[in-house]
Amino acid sequence: MAYSEKVVDHFNNPRNMGSFKKDEEGVGTGMVGAPECGDVMKLQIKVHNDMIVDAKFKTFGCGSAIASSSLATEWLKGKTIQEAQKIKNTDIVQELNLPPVKIHCSVLAEDAIKAALADYQKNADGPAAAAK
């Protein structure tokens, strides 16, 4: 199967690869996996004043999964929490021209974004709220 040019570009030059310390202030971590194919994705955001100032990812998986998470971090930077909530897997499919068999990679990326946002929220609410 041929990857689209954009997938190949993200795969060869992944943006924002790496990670933040989990317990750093303002950091939200999303860790998701696809039990069907064994792909693993970690996506992190760094938030300041409700704005995502930085994002990083690490993905173990196929080219489409790497490209999806790489693109996601690019999109997340500069967005507010509310704007980030609105990123849909279909946006990723469209941007990367993913074929039907690779749509689950974009779903994984959306799940990772959601998980990172939820984790950030949980940390921001503080341990008192988490204990409830």
Partner: protein, 246 residues
């Protein structure tokens, strides 16, 4: 336990013993409209009967929904039905019968391919039973994920290192050690799965409809699903390791 190998666990001899498990997908012969009591052939006019698309693979092969299946019995049943449905034997029959023969053969092949492999069988059963367990969310195994991502970094370092350099040799040794550890872990998961499969089967054989049995059932299914998922992650990184360091 390789995906294509059987588990060698065949101490259950309950197959076919419970006629209620063999629900027929239809009750009336398409040809003579008489009641069909045989498995796939009408007793009266001996015409082949179609396997319904809604028939699950266990029913199709005449086995109860169990996670442990004697591979020899399964194979014997598959050959028996393969012969019975084989299109070669229907060349001089009506078009309807030829179509049924083809359709049945296709379903039978998928059914056998799925059920002969213990892992695929378990995944298939989870799909069938999903109604009850779908709500029970598994939390992702964060530790395992961290480990996989870290290993991937090492793999990248290895790929980037100069060939036959000392650094590469060291990385290779490290990756090889990780590979052995992960393979052992996969093995342990499979041993664990076999135990859970046995527990599930015992519970089904018992057939209690109490709420306690239902809770236990869901707990088992959830556990099985979790280990199956973790096994896929481990298998995936092991394959990657093997492909990289050879």
């Amino acid at each position: 336990m390789d995906d294509n190998k059987d588990t060698g666990m065949d101490h259950h001899d309950t197959h076919n013993s419970n006629p209620r498990e063999l629900q027929m997908a239809r009750s009336m012969c398409w040809h003579c409209q008489s009641e069909v009591s045989g498995e796939y052939f009408c007793d009266r006019c001996i015409k082949v009967q179609p396997v319904s698309k809604e028939t699950d693979y266990f029913t199709c092969l005449g086995f109860p929904r169990r996670l442990t299946i004697d591979p020899r019995k399964l194979e014997a049943k598959f050959y028996e039905l393969s012969r019975a449905f084989h299109p070669d034997f229907y060349q001089n029959k009506s078009e309807t019968e030829q179509a049924i023969s083809l359709g049945n053969s296709a379903i039978l092949n998928s059914a056998y391919r799925t059920l002969r492999d213990p892992i695929q069988r378990a995944e298939y059963l989870l799909d069938l039973e999903a109604g009850a367990v779908k709500e029970l969310k598994n939390s992702p195994p964060a530790d395992l994920f961290e480990e996989i991502l870290e290993l991937q970094d090492t793999l990248n370092e290895y790929r980037a290192a100069e060939r036959t350099s000392e650094t590469q040799q060291q990385l290779r040794a490290k990756l090889h050690a990780e590979q052995l550890t992960l393979e052992q872990r996969k093995q342990d998961m499979e041993t664990n799965l076999q135990q859970l499969f046995t527990n599930w089967d015992a519970l089904q054989d018992h057939g209690d409809a109490t709420s306690q049995a239902r809770t236990e059932r869901d707990r088992l299914l959830k556990q099985i699903r979790e280990i199956l998922a973790n096994r896929t992650y481990v298998k995936s990184i092991v394959n990657n390791l093997v492909a990289t360091i050879g």
